[in-house]
């Protein structure tokens, strides 16, 4: 056993119950923090210089990452993880979730900050832009997504990692938190489809 162990509940009470190996992991990967700091610095510089290309680059790359991660987690990885045997699920979770702790906040911040600045630069966020209702719709969708991500997804992400760090993690707690994480990611993934529709429509206006 490496770090902690989860006893399998349904095993017969003969001898010591088999335990799941939990690999050692950092809740917040240090390397990821450095990369996030670089991305944050890039956003600050892009907002300061207010030039089209850096803003567009950060908004499109951040938005693409955000959309794809949400869709992939919610609609592809979630069901796969649900079907995995517990040992494989624990191994996968301890490798995936620490990365998500760093990736999602910076990707969301990068997308929204550069997107807002891009909207100011192009005038699309101003109420006198002819297609302003599309921008308003995107504000509302992003607002709902933010509340779900901040209120459900991110806390579940941190909580499951801290539970896995305990000497005796409780499988039922991990199960509950992972369900909450995956359902939230699924809802966000579905809302990302609406974001894709709105953003491509906005980009295609003459």
């Amino acid at each position: 056993m490496v770090e902690g162990a989860i006893a399998l509940q349904d095993e017969p009470a003969v001898g010591a119950p088999p335990a799941l190996e939990i690999p050692d992991f950092d809740i917040v990967p240090r390397v990821g923090l450095i990369l996030a700091a670089v991305a944050a610095a890039a956003v600050i510089v892009a907002v300061a210089v207010n030039k089209l290309w850096p803003l567009l680059f950060l908004h499109v790359s951040g938005g693409a990452a955000w959309t794809i991660i949400d869709l992939f987690l919610g609609l592809v990885l979630g069901p796969i993880m649900g079907a995995m045997p517990p040992p494989a699920r624990v191994q996968f979770t301890t490798r995936l979730m620490p990365k998500m702790v760093v990736i999602m906040p910076i990707v969301v911040t990068m997308t929204l900050a550069s997107g807002w600045q891009l909207g100011i630069h192009d005038g699309t966020v101003l109420s006198n832009w002819p297609h302003h209702s599309w921008i308003l719709a995107s504000f509302i969708i992003v607002g709902v997504m933010s509340v779900i991500a901040l209120g459900l997804l991110e806390p579940a992400n941190i909580a499951v990692l801290i539970e896995l760090k305990k000497p005796q993690p409780r499988p039922e707690v991990i199960e509950r938190l992972m369900k909450r994480f995956m359902y939230s990611a699924g809802i966000l993934g579905a809302m990302q489809i609406a974001t894709l529709v709105i953003m491509t429509r906005i980009a295609s206006f003459p």
């Binding site: 944050a40 300061a48 006198n128 901040l150 209120g151 991110e154 579940a156 909580a159 509950r176």
Partner: protein, 132 residues
Amino acid sequence: MSERQLPPFTEVAMTSLALIVAGGIYLSAHLPRHVPLTPAIILLAASVVLMVVNLASLARVSDFAWDRFFQVAKWSGLAYLVIAGMIEYAFLQNHVKGGALVILTLSLAVFAVHVPALVGFTVARFYEPSTA
């Protein structure tokens, strides 16, 4: 899993966050026109009231894992302070000023307090002192 009786912290926190998000959308939807601030002030005030009530109701829970709550909320708070700072920087860079800046700054303050508290709560609620 034994469940302790806890206040509906997550639900109230999400409502509080939704109110400041609604206020932010209201203000940004009217740019660059002059916008009446009253609806945004009402939304912010309601959000602050919910946050205070939420934290107060949690403070009344006697056997809550406060050590774990503050341990997580502290680091989470640092991260969300950085994010709030970046958003505030974007406001200042775009010459947001006056009442709108005050409302948006206070909204960010609610965000930077309530979200870390929510993360701390989610961790601490599953923490049993006997497993320390």
